[in-house]
């Protein structure tokens, strides 16, 4: 647990992200969020940022230890099947990504569609899910030159993660497909459709 400025603490639980780390991070964030004096929690790849106002550090540390002692399978989640189109205009980087992964575009799509991914955290942009659990062969670096505009709904890969851009933004991930499923609605509660621990499968249409 490290100080991050005068109003926040960073609790880092692992060096590298994994499905197991993601579930632990999610459990930790959920537990700390309920503490009095905690203003905000931001779960990320291997850590939870806790913005505090008046909570004692030892109270936070004790709550963190208790949360981390729980089995990773505790907590609830939902299953999401997201319909998506792959390749062509919807996935302009599919061919190159498949080539770098040493497989055909069809194989890549089959592989992705047969993988159940886990939502690790929501970050980068409103409703943007960081999905973990990709086969290792699909862990490819991001593009050397980011795009100025990634279309909304783009399904993308980078650095071992899969992600979905809920809204058009600049971005450097490899675009392989596109979904029309809405992922963020600021008037809904909660505003993001996916939550940490949720499982996601892509349905090829």
């Amino acid at each position: 647990m490290r100080l991050f400025g005068e109003r926040a603490l960073l609790i880092e639980i692992a060096r590298r992200p994994s499905v197991r780390v993601a579930l632990r991070v999610a459990g930790l964030a959920a537990a700390l969020e309920r503490l009095a004096g905690v203003e905000a929690v931001v779960p990320a790849a291997t850590s939870v940022l806790v913005e505090v106002n008046g909570v004692e550090e030892h109270v936070l540390a004790a709550a963190a230890r208790a949360a981390l002692a729980k089995p990773v399978t505790s907590g609830t989640w939902r299953e999401h099947a997201l319909a998506a189109r792959f390749g062509g205009e919807d996935g302009p980087d599919l061919e190159e990504t498949a080539r770098l992964a040493g497989m055909s575009p069809e194989t890549l799509i089959d592989l992705l569609a047969s993988t159940r991914l886990t939502v690790a955290f929501i970050g980068f942009a409103p409703g943007f899910p960081y999905l973990i659990g990709l086969p290792r062969c699909l862990a490819l670096p991001r593009l050397a030159t980011p795009r100025v505009r990634v279309p909304a709904g783009s399904v993308a890969l980078a650095d071992g993660w899969a992600g979905i851009y809920p809204r058009a933004t600049p971005g450097g991930w490899r675009l392989i497909g596109r979904t029309d499923e809405p992922l963020f609605d600021p008037t809904a509660d909660p505003p993001a459709r996916l939550a940490p621990r949720d499982r996601v499968r892509f349905i090829v249409t």
């Binding site: 490290r2 100080l3 400025g5 005068e6 955290f121 970050g123 942009a125 409103p126 600021p186």
Partner: protein
């Protein structure tokens, strides 16, 4: 509460957005930026000048202000940067309130100092709150006026107040802190930087780059390149000074994305972020190290008691509006 049109926007200015002092920090876990006025002290002061609570919605204007036609008589409060505001040609300085009549033109001319000015109107601007505040989220496209900057042709509404204070006067001004060194604390990734990097950050004179925006102040100066440029994405508090591979620091402002993957060398304390937000491109930024205790004592928002060590001069004004 009832509301009625207050301004017709004739020209939007460089970046004019509806903002207020409350943030969306607790929605960071949904990927949402904290948002809100970048200089909340000046936003609060503008509101006090217009007779509003501190957290009423105001216009935040950047470097070049808008041109507005007043649609009904009211009182305006101006605080923050001096962007050369006039009402029908008569100058209005920050720290003043002014009564305006139907048909008057509020416009902005040459910038004199600061980067962000705040214009409050009696009653407060009426836009629907989204995720707990009326502030505009430009990246998410929600909040404020349709989630975007104000532009020519827009009509803004304000809540109607039964007894709009038809007074005009001065009520002190917040210190924009244009020459103050910004107080920082070491960041969590300091060990990922070469030994002298933190000292270089403290010793060097930095310049605000023109690419700076509401997400971050980009600074130009000596190289601070981290030994490792990519780290697993981490939650980032506003004020974090992250350093990408090019070695040039970015101090994150309220519209920053809540997670990021660049190492953080230091963090600007919350009380000094308004001073950073008031630096315009080309302005100089210096840092000084502070302690956790001092950082926690320093206030980000003015108290009701008007003078404090953060440079507030409200108490020195003679009994409020004069």
């Amino acid at each position: 509460m009832r509301s009625a049109p207050i301004f017709e926007v004739m020209a939007g200015g460089l970046l004019t957005t509806v903002q207020e002092t409350r943030s969306r920090a607790r929605f960071g876990r949904y990927g949402v930026a904290a948002g809100g006025a970048l200089d909340p002290r000046s936003a609060a002061l503008a509101n006090r000048l217009a007779g509003n609570p501190d957290d009423a919605a105001v216009l935040e204007m950047t470097l070049t202000g808008p041109v507005l036609r007043v649609l009904r008589s009211t009182t305006l409060g101006l605080a923050g940067a001096d962007l050369g505001m006039t009402v029908d040609g008569r100058p209005v300085a920050p720290g003043w309130s002014v009564a305006v009549r139907t048909g008057a033109t509020v416009s902005f001319g040459e910038r004199r100092c600061g980067a962000r000015a705040y214009l409050a109107v009696a009653g407060g601007l009426d836009v629907a709150p989204v995720l707990g505040t009326r502030s505009t989220d430009l990246a998410g496209g929600f909040g404020g006026l349709a989630g975007r900057a104000v532009r020519a042709g827009d009509v803004l509404a304000a809540f109607t107040v039964p007894d709009a204070p038809a007074r005009a006067g001065r009520w002190g001004a917040a210190d924009l802190g244009l020459n103050r060194p910004l107080r920082i604390l070491p960041g969590p990734h300091r060990p990922l930087f070469p030994a002298g990097a933190f000292l270089t950050l403290l010793k060097a004179e930095w310049q605000v780059a023109p690419e700076s925006n509401r997400m971050g102040a980009r600074l130009v100066g000596p190289q601070l390149a981290p030994r490792r440029a990519d780290i697993p994405s981490v939650g980032l508090p506003v004020g974090a000074i992250q350093v990408p591979g090019d070695g040039q620091p970015i101090a994150l402002l309220a519209d920053r994305q809540p997670t990021g993957g660049y190492p953080v060398l230091a963090i600007v304390i919350a009380a000094d972020l308004p001073y950073l937000a008031q630096r315009a491109p080309g302005d100089v930024v210096r840092f000084m190290r502070t302690t956790l205790e001092e950082a926690r004592r320093a206030k980000a928002l003015p108290g009701t008691v008007a003078t404090d060590e953060e440079g507030w001069t409200l108490a020195r004004a003679t009994g409020g509006l004069t």
